[in-house]
Amino acid sequence: MMRQLAISAALLVLAGCRNSQASIDPLEQTGPKPVLPEPTEGLIAAVGVPQVVGWKQGETPTVPSGFRIEAMATGLSNPRTVYPLPNGDILVVEGKRVGSEPVDRPKDPVRRFIMSLAHGGGGAKSSGPAAGPPQRITLLRDANGDGKVELKSILVDHLNSPFGIAVVGNELYVANTDAVLRYPFTSGQTAISSPPQRVVELPGGLIDHHWTKSLTASPDGSKLYAGVGSNSNVQERGPEAETNRAAVWEIDPRTGAYRVFASGLRNPNGLTFYPGSNTLWTVVNERDEIGPNLVPDYMTSVRPGGFYGWPYSYYGQHVDKRVRPQRPDLVAKAIPPDYALSSHVAALGLAFYTGSSFPAGFRGGAFVGEHGSWNRTAYNGYRVVFIRFAGGRPVGKPMNFVVGFIGPDGKARGRPVGVAVDRTGALIIADDVGNTVWRVSYSGDAKAR
């Protein structure tokens, strides 16, 4: 049965699959008012995952003219998050989900197999007898800001599927998949030997479907915000599995007290405060399996106490009829997100441009790392886009800023995840499939946007 399903899924991938929403251009699904077609459920969810081949020596993603991209570090192991520090050090979170979700239905192993295709092997599979992928934070030192790494050192090791990090004063907070940890950390330090304190437990557990826990600190450093993704596509693991999930948590780092800050956010990542404000932004991965053009992933400001629809509805009051019992009371108060990024792009990274070395049009705008689609036959995402901001709000259409993660042969070299701006104003990109950290700088010889 499993094999039959896997084979027919594979055949449909090859055949290009049915595609009744194909006429929509992904660009029509960007911005504040995306085109939303009627949901369609095929016999087999459209699946398209590129074969992973990695980057050849000297091969890089492509950037607009006037910009330069180079690899800062290669041979990493699933780098997900990059976190530049004021002294030029860059923290790179390397981690991977371990274990697998319990099998509820015959579909589950089939789905897992398809997902695994898109991740390839990637990086050190196991190091020594204590098998398992590295779960650590690597420090890259670029003291003179030329983009060349002089020192590479393991800052913290043996974490548990880490993703988000935040440095507040002399403390490093790490969001493992099941807890927020605190380490004492002084700028310049290249290894931390002190054991961590557990600030608060996060929902991990046996299923842990969306395992990446994004993390950021409020501008004054008094609160932490953690993104906790849902345990399912649309609550098909039952409502009990979603307790305090699909939410952004607000955590008091001193006491470990937390509250759900906002909910109905299926898989929120890239938590970041808009520079100079107290407004929290996130990029969210929306639901799958109702067509290649549903539901667009989005970037949104997060209102305290806000409910953004998942699982009952999307983009405000568009009810998802797969979810029972329905909750018209919650649907009524669902907030439509600010800015759609188009469907299935899998936005995982968000950084506002706080530097000054890029042309003026970039200031205050957003870079979004789009890991790339699986639930449509025509790939979408697999790039870093830029969205201009005016008055603290996104304007216009996204611009493809870093592309070429999928080569002309249709095979994946890498997939972008976290993005960040370093002290020189260069854009740093974590590429978890290409096992590389990229740095994009402006060479100044092209006209500004």
């Binding site: 049965m1 039959q4 399903l5 459920e41 016999l43 087999i44 509820d104 239905r105 015959p106 579909k107 399912s232 596509n233 649309v234 609550q235 098909e236 693991r237 039952g238 399996e289 009829k321 797969r322 979810v323 029972r324 019992p325």
Partner: protein, 143 residues
Amino acid sequence: MARRTIPPISIVRHPIYNMLLPVPVVCFIAALLTDWTYLASNGNRQWVNFSTWLLAAGLVFGAVSILVLMVDLIRGVAANRGLGWATFLLLLAAWIVEFINSLVHARDGWTAVAGAGLVLSIVGALLIAIAGWLSRDALELVP
């Protein structure tokens, strides 16, 4: 009934078709019941999970029983060839319907059952029930 000369595919002289066929009959009919219960419970997901495993088990055993029956029929085992092939076609039709049904049941949530899923479960259960009822005569059994 006429005496048969060619024995069906057997284990220790007991035809295995008769052992295999009840599995899809029971599973496909049971899947209809668990589908019904899922809808009646307003989406208690354990029932749709039962349905998906019942369909999976019915499809695996159904596929083997169809193959065994086909080989037996080609070898000329059936006392009544017409009835034998009619049973075969009903089984095949039930299997195809339930295969499509298993894809529908793989959807996440309510639409795995409500609508096409329930209709296919009814059709598949009817087809397999008729096939099971006919099959007593499809292969004449050694008493």
